[in-house]
Amino acid sequence: MKFASLGCILACSLLFGGTQDSEFNVNSRYTVEAVVVSGDGWRADMATDRDHKVSSSLRKEMCALIGEKLNPTSLDDLAHRLRKEFHARTVEHRVLRGKSPDYVQVVFDVQLRPTRFDVSVPKFLYNSDQGWTGAIEGTATVNHNGFTLGLVSDGDELVERYTGIAARYENTDIGSDKVRFRFVFETYHEQWNRTTTAALPSGETSDDLSGLYRTRQNFEPEFTFQVAKPLSLSVGTSFQRFQELDPVAHTDVANALTTALRYHRRVEGEDSQQDVDAGYNLRAATRLIGSDFAYSRHRWQFRYMLTRGKSVVLDEATGGIITGRAPLFERFVLGNSTTLRGWNKYDLDPLGGNRMVHNSVEYRYGVFQAFYDSGAIWDRTDAAVLRHSVGVGLRQGIFSLAVAFPLKEGRIDPVFVMGMNY
């Protein structure tokens, strides 16, 4: 009986209880002085701190509360959205007295789940020339430790199609949240396109080229240091071993020191937002750490994005150079789902190149996108040939559908690319 009546009261509370009723809250006559979001060991004033933990759109909405009368109903909505954005266990809000009489401060407390498990699809796409590519992974997070196990079959990124397992351990707080550690283990089985095997006949290698391989394993520990707010530095090593196919099956090792310098800066104006990303990656393999190969792979990347209302303008420039003899997985590729879209990478260079430049300009308006790609891929001994492509498509969040046309003489061969997170 007691529980029956409690159930009745609860049902009514769900129907009528509501959450915050502004008209009933006596504090709705006070003015909001500040809005603060705090979490485990961090705190950000939305008006003064340019903290990137909270998305710019949500931060703008929270800043809009400042100077207005307190609206408790809107706090519930913002707390709900923060909870979704942080995948938090709870987001609770408190209102405190402000520094001046009749002013109040709003504080959102974000409580993350100490242990959580997520399944995600980091990459999934279909290219009408090159087929399917997909990856799925599960991540268990315990405090600052993340354990990830995933399956991948990628025919897009490299000359080869690699299929196998990728496992990762990440610690995002080695004594400080400015130091991170990551250990990656990958084991793949390779498939080669006929054009690639034809371009590199059995047993034939050169000063720049290695042979084909059947399987490949990689062990890669890496530390990342947040040098300054927009700048991070990663250092690590990569221990790769792979079983070459010809002339006789044997295992080769390509051990390299790795370094990456990344810069990210966001500048927000009244009605626009600019994002600048720049990066430099170096992989240096040397016999000093037991490598059968000695080479250096340098890659530069610059990306600029301007967002104004529904319009987005994006420019991304990439360049790379390899010196020495590197395995095929290190060689650069153009003509996939992100570079020289519309071109077939096997037509451009079935073995990849050790020199590469590429630029992509993209304009988006709402879900509509149009792009222009240009680039060249070549080997040290060859001359560079600049190629271009254009395309249009639809993009909504992480999902994209595009048709791309390589600009070349003769017939037009459109290529369809659809997928997510690429």
Partner: protein, 192 residues
């Protein structure tokens, strides 16, 4: 179910309700009942609005036979951060009072609750029960999840026994007779 109700009624009878009659409705006070305490008070001091759901039930015997059950009434309470005083609103009765201390707010809220005495014979004995529950915003958010109504959340809440974390109060009185009750002036129009 009725068997369960008897000991509950007897158990709570000592804490009691002081019942009065205004000619149409039954009113009561609950001395010693303090609901602006604990978690609801913490939420109020965070400037949250706390909604309490009250329900009054009349029984025609001490076996738990319901004579009348009033519609749940909302008591909406907020706490002024700068004045440090409470405001209580009873939307169903269109009544509101502010600038109250905690004790004043509790007393005013309960004084303004009532149930119709229509159909009660003056000499017929009856029993009364008053229940009060704080509606938790977490319960709301658990049930109203990101992807719509969460059935597991609803089941979890309904199957949970009220405990320390679930602010719930109950007071009972009886047997009572209308003819024995002290008369008061009408504070609300006729209910029901």
């Amino acid at each position: 179910m009725a068997g369960l109700a008897i000991p509950l009624l007897r158990l709570q009878a000592d804490e009691g309700l002081t019942v009065s009659f205004d000619g149409d409705n039954l009113h009561f006070s609950a001395p010693g009942l303090h609901f602006l305490t604990g978690k609801p008070l913490t939420r109020l001091k965070d400037a949250d609005t706390v909604t309490f759901l009250s329900q009054i039930t009349l029984f025609s015997d001490n076996q738990g036979t319901i004579f009348r059950r009033g519609l749940p009434e909302r008591l909406v309470v907020s706490y002024d951060l700068w004045e440090e005083r409470f405001k209580v609103t009873i939307p169903g009765a269109s009544r509101s009072r502010s600038n109250l201390t905690a004790v004043e707010a509790e007393a005013w809220a309960i004084e303004n609750l009532a149930i119709s005495a229509l159909g009660l014979a003056p000499d017929r004995p009856f029993w009364m029960r008053f229940e009060l529950r704080a509606a938790s915003p977490k319960e709301m958010s658990r049930v109203m999840g990101d992807s719509g109504i969460s059935l597991s959340g609803l089941v979890e809440i309904l199957s949970r026994k009220p405990g320390v974390d679930d602010p719930y109060w109950m007071r009972s009185a009886g047997p009572l007779r209308l003819s024995d009750l002290p008369r008061t002036v009408a504070r609300r129009g006729r209910i029901g």
